[in-house]
Structure formats: C-alpha cells, structure tokens
C-alpha cells in the first residue's frame, strides 16, 4: 500500500494528538500543524484520486482489528471511484475551513483545542470514507459523531451549546441502534463484514427470508432498512433531523465543514456504498425516495421563515441532503453523490459567508438586524451571491447540474415514488431559490437595520477569511462541470466515472422530455428568485403582512412544526418520569428493597418473640419442658 495513502488519515490524527497535548503552549500559532497536516492530506488525496483515474483500485488491509471465532475485521482501505471523490471533498473543504478558522476563531479561548478537534474530525471522516469494511465505517461514523459533539459544544460554558452537543450525539444514537443491528444481521448472514465479500455474495439475499413478528421479510429489505436508520440519523432526515438545526450552536466554520459539507453527507455515502444491497429492495428504495421528498419539502418550508441567518442555511442543508437521498432512492446513486459533491462547495461557501457576516456584525445572527451589507463586505457579498445562484439552480452553476440530474432521474425511474419525488423536488427547487434569495436580500440589500454601534464597526473580513470564500466560490461555480449532461453537449463524465461502483440507470425518457424537465426546474429556480425579489426588494412590507394574515401557519413554521416539543412530551419526559417514579421509586426502592430489608425485619420480629420465651423464670422453663415432653410422648405414642 502506498505510504501516501496511509498518510491521508494519519497526518490529521498525528496533528490531533500533538495539538491536543502541547498546542496550548503554542498560543495563537496552534493552527500551523493542523493546517499543514490537512494540506498534505489533501495533496495525498489528489494523488489517490489520480491513481484511481488511471485505473488502480486499492483494497487492502492494514492490520487485523478484531479476531474472534470466524469474525475477522480489519482496519483497511478501499480506494475506488466513490472513495476518491469523497477524499477530495473532505480534504479540500476541510483545508479551506482550517484556514478560514484562523481568522474566524482569532482570540477565542481554547484556540488550540478548536484546531485539535478539527483535525480529529478530518481523521474520523477520512477513516469513514476509506474503510473497506462495515465496522471501520462504523468506527468513522461514531468518531465523526464525537468530533461533532465536541465542536457543537465548543462553547461548553453555554448551556444551550452543551445541550445541543449532547442532543446531536443521542439523537444519532437512535439511528446507530438500527445501523448496529444491521451490521449484526449482515455478519450473521454473510459471516463477514468486509464490503468485497458481502457485496460479491449479495445475490444470496434474494432467497433469504426473515421472520419478524410473524411475517416474512426479505433479508435485503431488512438489512437495507436497518442501515438506512443510521443514515437517517447522521444525515438529519425526518424523524431524526432535530439535532442539526441545534448544532448551529457550534462555531460557524464547524457548521460549514461538519454540519453541511461533509459529516452530514455520511448517510448518503452509506447508502451509495451499500448500493448493491439497497438495489435489491425496491421497498426500501421507495421509502428512501418518499422520505427524501417529504424531508426536502418539510425543511424547505421551515427555512422560508427563519430569522437566524445560520438556521436558514441549516434547514436548507436538511432539505438538500434530502435531495441526495431522492437521487439514491431512485437508484441514481451517482446523481446523489454528484449533488453531495456540488453541495459541499456551495453550502460550505454559504456557511462561511454567514460566518463572515457574523464576524462583520460582531456576532449578530438575526437577519432582522442586518441589511445593505454589500457595500461594506463586497467579497463576502459576491461569493455569497454565487453560492445562492448555485443552490438556486441557475444554469451553468454547480447546483444546477446536480439538482437537474436528480430530478431527471426521479422522473425517469420506474419506481412508484419517482414521479412524486420529481414533483416535490421541483416545488422544493422553487422554494430553495426563494429562501436563498430572501436571505441574500435581507442580509446584503436594502437598508441597514442594526444598531448604530454595529453600523460603525461594519467591516469586510480579513483576507484569511475571504480567500477561502473565493476559492470555494470557484467550486460553487465549476463543480458541476464534471457532470454536464449530453443534452447540453457534455458527456456526463461524472456518472461514467462512478459507474463501476454505483452503476447507472438507463435513461428512458426522450431528449425532448429531458429538455422539458430541465426547463421546468430552471423556471422553478427563476420564479423563486423573482418572488424573493418582489417580496423583499420591491414590496418589503408584504412579508410582514403575509405573516400576519397567515399567522397560524407562520407560527407553525417558525416553531419548526413543534417537533422538538412533541418529542419532549412523548419521549423525554415520560422516560425521565418513568425512571424516577416507576423504575427507581416503585420497583427498585419499594419492591426489591422492600423484600431485601423486609426479610431481616421479619426475622428480627420473630426473634424478638422467641426471645421473650427466655425470661429467666424457672417456672416458665419448667412449664415449657413439661409441655414439650408431653408433646413428644404424644407423637411417639401416635407414631407407634
């Protein structure tokens, strides 16, 4: 195995360990080692990518991790087309976020700690995508969860931040519960957890039926369903999406890297990686598609009304992740990964742009206090505009190509849920364009609505912040050019590149239909932008009026459909109450302890009575002796 491959995850790991142990002493220079490490990692990832392009696929174990009976699990690397793409996404965005953080986190307490955690995250995410078996995937899966926990709760003295970190971890564990059982099932059926072994024998699943609650279930369906549970948690889909918006408590670079570009896409990666299993189960594919469509719509509607700049982008992330799942659900895994790729850049850019705004506004996040920032923050504005155009699906930019591919594939598929997902997806494209430009207009256009002091301090961010923005802007514009469809004169290079791993569904629709669909999605995007322009630039009093007219809907959306409150009432409180009152209060302290402490008490009581017999009165003893002798004699006589 090339040493440069080992270096990809090991450099960030070394950087994490060293920075954590001695970084405190480096003070404001603590960022150097992590940045150098991730840059080298990026270089090695590029090398790995080009090796794969030249046709070299690596699948090699490093060492045996767990050995027990016939269970053999290794730490090992699989570098194929899918991994190569992920390596590029992770290391490039991570490197830019590292550099950006030098400016963003300047002067923060725990500066070295922040960079150490970033390194830990990069290592974990790379282990996740590099693994050649399910258990290493799970290792990376949980390790990114840990990094996320640490970084969300970076400002741990703030209760809301500490709560959010904990919530992210625990909500994810619900998904992991299914994931883990899925792994148990995979091992039980295949006797292995290595991708190659499992995927090469995946056809065996078709015959397998598993009895669950009295009904027969296809083994592939059950495994796919369980694995998908993990994906739902990590990628924040309904019903486990609740942790992601709260994760915005973390510093903004973290939101960009972990909670937009990379970690949250792990669920999509999981489905794509396991596509041989998922493809066997139309039931689960339909489910993924429908859930994707519903989540996309659900999150987009919430994003329409949020007033916190980061929350808008957070719900947008949930919605875009759902797009990726639609892609995977309709069997077009490469389209899903394509959107993952383009989204990584434009969404990271959006978040980092938000961060730049937050810096300029001195940690103000309320949209209502912003406005007209484009004059003071021109670089941030232009890059933010490009990202918004990209996510809105304006032709030629990255988001357009990937989103279009997904919608086309949804329309194209024979799957029952396909047309439904296509319709919802197009509607959501409209909403996406609308809320993205609502955000843009509220932040950068119009009059400034903040305090005098804020106005006075408004400034463009330093170059260490703006340079990453500009570099990401290149990605947000060009990332889609790898997958230009034939209709527009391209050859869909992307899909062909990934085809050996992900396959590629046959396109049945005619070129005319394809053009019509494309026109539809362009129209949706343009209408969204137009409506935002109309409401927030031409008639700025209208949104307020609308909110008043539709007060109940507005409140419902503003409160995120009250899902958090629902979970609190249905899950958290009953669990805590049951714990305190029933399990501890009644079963443990009353029932079990009652017996434990009651038994000695009964013995003591009986002993107390018996003790009274020995009262020291000779006459009493004589009476007992006489009585006893008589009784004995009686027994003997009767016995005889």
């Amino acid at each position: 195995m090339p040493a440069s491959l080992l270096a990809i995850p090991l450099l960030p790991l070394a950087s994490f360990v060293i920075t954590l142990l001695v970084g405190r002493r480096w003070g404001t220079r603590a960022h150097w080692l992590p940045i150098v490490a991730v840059l080298f990692s990026f270089g090695c990832a590029l090398a790995a990518f080009f090796r794969v392009r030249s046709g070299v696929i690596i699948n090699q174990d490093v060492y045996t991790w767990i050995l027990s009976g016939n269970l053999v699990v290794s730490f090992g690397f699989l570098v194929d087309q899918l991994t190569a793409v992920m390596l590029i996404v992770v290391t490039s965005v991570s490197a830019l976020v590292h550099i950006y953080s030098v400016g963003y986190m300047k002067g923060e307490e725990g500066y070295y700690r922040f960079f150490a955690y970033l390194s830990l995250f990069t290592f974990s995410m790379l282990m996740l995508v590099l693994g050649n078996n399910f258990l290493q995937l799970f290792f990376g899966w949980e390790a990114v969860g840990l990094s996320s926990y640490l970084l969300i709760g970076f400002y741990f003295n703030k209760q809301s931040a500490a709560d959010a970190g904990k919530k992210a971890f625990i909500v994810n564990r619900f998904g992991d519960f299914g994931f883990l059982i899925g792994l148990l099932l995979v091992f039980t059926l295949f006797g292995s957890l290595h991708y190659q072994e499992v995927f090469s024998r995946v056809s065996e699943l078709e015959m397998q039926k598993i009895t669950l609650f009295g009904s027969q279930i296809n083994a592939a369906t059950l495994i796919a369903l369980l694995l998908f549970c993990g994906a739902i948690g990590k990628s924040a889909q309904i019903p486990l999406h609740v942790w992601l918006p709260d994760a915005m408590e973390g510093p903004t670079p973290v939101s960009a890297l972990i909670h937009a570009a990379t970690m949250v896409t792990a669920g999509v990666f999981l489905v794509a990686r396991c596509n041989p299993i998922f493809s066997l189960s139309p039931v689960v594919l339909n489910l993924i598609t429908v859930l994707g469509a519903v989540t996309a719509l659900f999150a987009a509607t919430i994003a329409l009304v949020q007033t916190d700049i980061k929350r808008v982008v957070a719900y947008s992330t949930v919605s875009q992740l759902a797009y990726m799942f639609i892609g995977c659900g309709v069997g077009a895994y490469s389209a899903g990964i394509f959107h993952l790729f383009t989204h990584a850049y434009f969404k990271a850019l959006l978040f980092l742009g938000c961060g730049s705004v937050i810096l300029g506004m001195h940690h103000e996040q309320d949209l209502r206090a912003m406005g007209g920032l484009k004059r003071q923050m021109p670089v941030t504005y232009v890059t933010f505009l490009l990202a918004s155009l990209s996510i809105a699906g304006v032709p030629g930019l990255a988001g357009f190509f990937s989103k279009d591919e997904i919608l086309l594939m949804a329309f194209n598929t024979d799957l029952a849920a396909g047309k439904f997902a296509w319709a919802i997806g197009t509607l959501v494209a409209f909403m996406t364009a609308f809320y993205s430009f609502r955000l843009l207009f509220l932040v950068f256009h119009g009059d400034f609505r903040g305090s005098e002091e804020q106005r006075h301090h408004l400034h463009e961010s330093p170059p260490v912040v703006t340079w990453p923005l500009m570099l990401l802007a290149i990605g947000a514009v060009t990332a889609g050019w790898f997958g230009v469809p034939a209709l527009l004169g391209g050859d869909n290079h992307w899909a062909h590149f990934l085809e050996p791993v992900l396959g590629h569904p046959h396109v049945q629709v005619s070129a005319a239909t394809e053009a019509l669909l494309m026109g539809g999605s362009i129209l949706a995007g343009v209408c969204g932008i137009g409506l935002a322009y109309f409401l927030y630039r031409m008639r700025p009093h209208l949104p307020g009026l609308l909110a008043e007219r539709l007060a109940s809907v507005h409140r419902l959306l503003l409160n995120k459909y009250y899902i958090d409150e629902l979970y609190d009432i249905l899950l958290v409180r009953p669990a805590l109450a049951a714990s305190r009152k029933v399990v501890l209060g009644i079963v443990d302290l009353v029932c079990i302890e009652g017996v434990v402490n009651g038994l000695p008490r009964i013995i003591a009581l009986v002993a107390e009575r018996l003790r009274r017999l020995q009262d020291g009165q000779v006459s009493h003893y004589l009476a007992w002796m006489g009585g006893g002798a008589l009784a004995l004699a009686a027994v003997l006589l009767i016995g005889l």
Partner: protein
C-alpha cells in the same frame, strides 16, 4: 521443580500486608510507600506469567498441587488458563491504582487500610488461581472480610448499613454455593478438583439444583437483576479505593464463577436455563440504564451503570458461543478498567469538593480541563465508542447474543442509546454549563493523580484499537469451554473405573 509462581502471587501481598503492621504507626510515608511498592512488585510478578504463558493450549498452566486435608480429599491446587490470567493482570493493576488513589484520601488508620487492601488482593488472586473447589471457597469468603472492613471503617456516613447489607447479601448466596459444593462432592466421585468435576455426567435434576445453588452465589456477586441492590449502597459508601476494587474486580467474581463452574460442570442445566438468564441480563441492561437517568448522586449513578454493563457481561456469557463468551470476558476486563477509572476519577474530585451531589457540580471543564479530558475518555469508553475498549466488548457480545437469540441483542442494543443519554448528561452536568459556585479554583490534577489515570487511558485505547492482544489469550480456552458446554469431545466419557467403584 519450577517456581511456585501462583503461590508467590497469592502470598506475597498477604505477607506484605501483614508486614505493614510492623511499621511504627506514625511513619505514614513509609507505610504508603511500602504499600505502593508491594503492589507494584506484585504487578511485576505477573510479568513472567504473561511471558511464559502458552496460548495454544487450554490446559491449566503454572499448576501447583499439594494435599491439604487428605481425609476430605481437599487439596491446595492452583492453575490458570487463558481466562484467569487476564483477571490476575487486572487485579494486580487495579490494586496499584487503588493504593495511589488512597494516598491522601485515607487519613485514619492508614496502616490497617493498606493491610486490608493487600490481604484482599491475595484473596482475589487466590480465587482466580484455585482449581480446588474448597480452596476456591476459602478465598471466595476470605475476600469478604477485608472488603467488609474497608467499607465499614473507611466508608461514608451510612457505611454500617451498606457494609452489613453487602456482607449478608453475598454470604447468603455463598452458603448456598457451599451446599452445592458438598452435593457435587457426593455425586461427582468424591473430589473437589474442579477439572475432574467438570469431566463428568450428572443427572439433569441434580444439575438444575446445583445450577440454582451456584446461581445464588454468583448472581449476587455480578450482580444480576434483581439481586443488585447491595451494589449502589456499597459503592456509594465505600472509599474511592473500595469502589474501584469492588467495581473492577470483586463483581467480576460472579461472572467468573459462572464461567468456571456453572458452564463446564453443569452444561445441560446451563443450556436449559439460557433463556431465563438472557432475560435477566437484558432486564439488567435496560433497567440499570433507566435508573441511571434518575440518579442525583454521582457514585450511585456509576454503580447502577455497572448493573447495566454487567448485564452485557452475562448476556455474552449465556449466549454460549465463541464471540459472546470472548466478548463477555473482554467486557469484564473493560468494565474493570473503565468503571474502575470512573471511580478513581470520582474519588479525585470528591477529595476537592466533598460532595457527590451531581447538581452541585458544573463547569469543571473550565476549572480542571485535563481532568475533564480524562473523564471524557472514560465516559466514551463507557458508552462503547468505537476506538475504545468498550466497543469491542459490547460488539462481540451483541454479535454473540444475536447469533444465539436475536431478540436479546436487539433489546440490549437499546442500552447503547440509554447509556449515551445518562453518561453524556452526567458529563454535561459536571463539566459543562456555567461554573457553579464552589467549583472555582479547584486544584488541577497533580502528578500522582495523572499517573493513576494514565495507565487506564493507555489500556482503554490499546484494547480498543488492538483487542487481539487480549483476545488471543482467550481463543483456545473459550473454545474448550464451549466444547465442554456443548458436549463435544466429552460426550460418553464415563467415570474412570477407579472412581466409579467408589461408594
């Protein structure tokens, strides 16, 4: 004849402990240093065992055999296999760390404290080495006395209640085991040799009687649900070192007992009782975890989490397959390390704050960042994060459980959600949020404390990333144990003629 290594291991700490009593009472520093040295030398003495141990055989190694009470055919016989050697290492390590954590925490009757601890060590090592049932029983009961004193003399305010509860609970179980041992002697060819007893066929009825007799002793020690209620009290009242030894080693004795006696000697009864045992295990996992959510006392919470974690151990044990058993044994070591480490850590903050009330804490990550780092790693190991030892054990157990009876693994896996919930909640309440009054200006960890915790960190990560270092000890011994349970290679083995003629 080679060195009686095991006897040395047993009696060195006992003699060392007694020699402490000869040191003049006021020379506190000498007493502490001597105790540390004795425990360290004991740890070093386990090194030859590791180096000379032959992993390729299940046969007892380093055996010693002397007639003890010939009239009753009681022998002084020792020996270890791949299972017991791990427990020896764990015990020797834990005692060193317990001495270190008691350095300043124990201020009264220091001499007696360390003597009790070293005597306890000798007895614990004896339990893991004994291959004669009576010898085993002697060590088993001998452990009780020093522990009884450690809780009862150096414990918290409610120590008398706790220690008597602990004593009576365990004694009651042990007495039933003694009855079982005598029964075995009667029906097993009049021998107390554990290996010989295991090679014989007993009627199912007898096996069942014996199974429940042993169950009484072992289940209390584990502790399995519902005979667990002595544990929270004992843990809460015991001094830090007492809690550490209790959690790390003493409660492993129960599971070890199942492994050493119930499984090989009573294979049919064990197999018949698998389902009830799995049910009890699963209840313990979920029940212990749910109760943790309601705890307001730091040590009580960790004590109940032990109930939950030991549920995993018994689950793997009664899965009766290679992965389940190996996972179970590994998890015992893991739990010893992780919960031991948690109690060490709790002891350290208790010395500074003198409160076990979780609500009194807050923001310690600001005031004691290094300590927070240690505690976080222990927390993560406790919730079974991959990369830590906790994951390997739990994963193997779940796999074993799943292969045996899928429902058990599915329910048990829910313990992972609850575990994350109560542990991270605990971590948040102690280390995150605003710094509470009274939590400012706490002394950072000193070198002794860091040296106490550091070995745990290394072991947690080492086992998490390279569990084969330990698992390789187990493969052959566990495979042999499973052969005994499932009757492979032993079916039809009749009593040797000489034994069969005995009355």
């Amino acid at each position: 004849m080679s060195m009686p290594l095991l006897s040395i291991l047993i009696f060195f700490p006992i003699l060392g402990g007694l020699s402490l009593l000869c040191v003049p009472r006021q020379q506190i520093a000498t007493i502490r240093t001597m105790a540390l040295l004795i425990s360290l030398i004991e740890l070093l003495l386990t090194l030859p065992l590791v180096l000379l141990f032959d992993k390729s055989t299940h046969v007892m190694q380093f055996t010693e055999h002397h007639a003890w009470i010939p009239v009753l055919r009681i022998n002084y016989s020792l020996g270890i296999d791949g299972i017991s050697i791990l427990f020896l290492l764990l015990t020797a390590l834990i005692v060193v760390l317990s001495v270190l954590v008691s350095w300043k925490a124990i201020t009264d009757k220091i001499q007696e404290f360390f003597t009790a601890m070293l005597l306890l060590e000798g007895a614990m090592i004896g339990v893991f080495c004994a291959t004669d049932f009576i010898l085993f029983y002697v060590f088993w009961e001998a452990m009780l006395i020093p522990m009884f004193l450690i809780i009862g003399i150096w414990g918290g305010p409610n120590r008398i209640y706790a220690t008597i509860k602990f004593f009576l609970y365990t004694l009651l179980g042990s007495l039933l085991m003694l009855v079982g041992i005598i029964l075995l002697y009667q029906f097993g060819g009049r021998t107390f040799d554990i290996l010989k007893l295991a090679g014989q066929a007993y009627s199912l009825k007898l096996q069942l009687v014996l199974f429940w007799a042993f169950f009484a002793a072992f289940a209390v020690k584990v502790p399995m649900w519902p005979v667990h209620t002595w544990l929270p009290d004992a843990h809460t009242e015991a001094p830090a070192a007492g809690s550490v030894i209790l959690a790390a080693v003493l409660i492993k004795m129960g599971a070890y007992g199942f492994l050493r006696f119930s499984l090989p000697i009573l294979p049919d009864a064990t197999q018949l009782m698998t389902t009830p045992m799995l049910v009890l295990s699963v209840i313990a996992i979920v029940y212990g975890a749910i109760i943790c959510l309601a705890q307001t006392d730091l040590k009580r919470l960790i004590a109940y989490s032990s109930v939950s974690h030991m549920g995993f151990v018994t689950l793997g044990l009664f899965a009766l397959n290679q992965r389940g058993l190996e996972g179970s044994i590994l998890q015992m070591i893991n739990h010893g390390l992780v919960t031991g480490a948690l109690f060490l850590a709790v002891g350290m903050i208790y010395e500074r704050t003198h409160t076990r009330e979780i609500a009194a804490y807050g923001g310690l990550a600001s005031t004691m960042p290094v300590f927070a780092g240690f505690f976080l790693l222990f927390t993560l190991a406790a919730v079974g994060l991959p990369g830590t030892n906790g994951f390997i054990g739990e994963f193997l157990i779940l796999l074993g459980g799943f292969e045996s009876q899928p429902w058990s693994a599915v329910i048990a896996a829910s313990g992972l959600i609850l575990g994350a919930w109560y542990m991270l909640w605990l971590f948040q309440r102690i280390f995150f949020n605003e710094v509470k009054t009274g939590m400012q200006g706490l002394a950072p960890l000193d070198l002794r404390e860091i040296l106490t915790l550091a070995p745990m960190v290394i072991l947690i990560l080492w086992i998490g990333l390279y569990p084969n270092g330990l698992l390789s000890f187990l493969h052959v011994s566990v495979a042999h144990l499973l052969d005994q349970v499932h009757g492979v290679g032993l079916a039809g083995v009749a009593l040797p003629p000489a034994l069969a003629q005995l009355p």
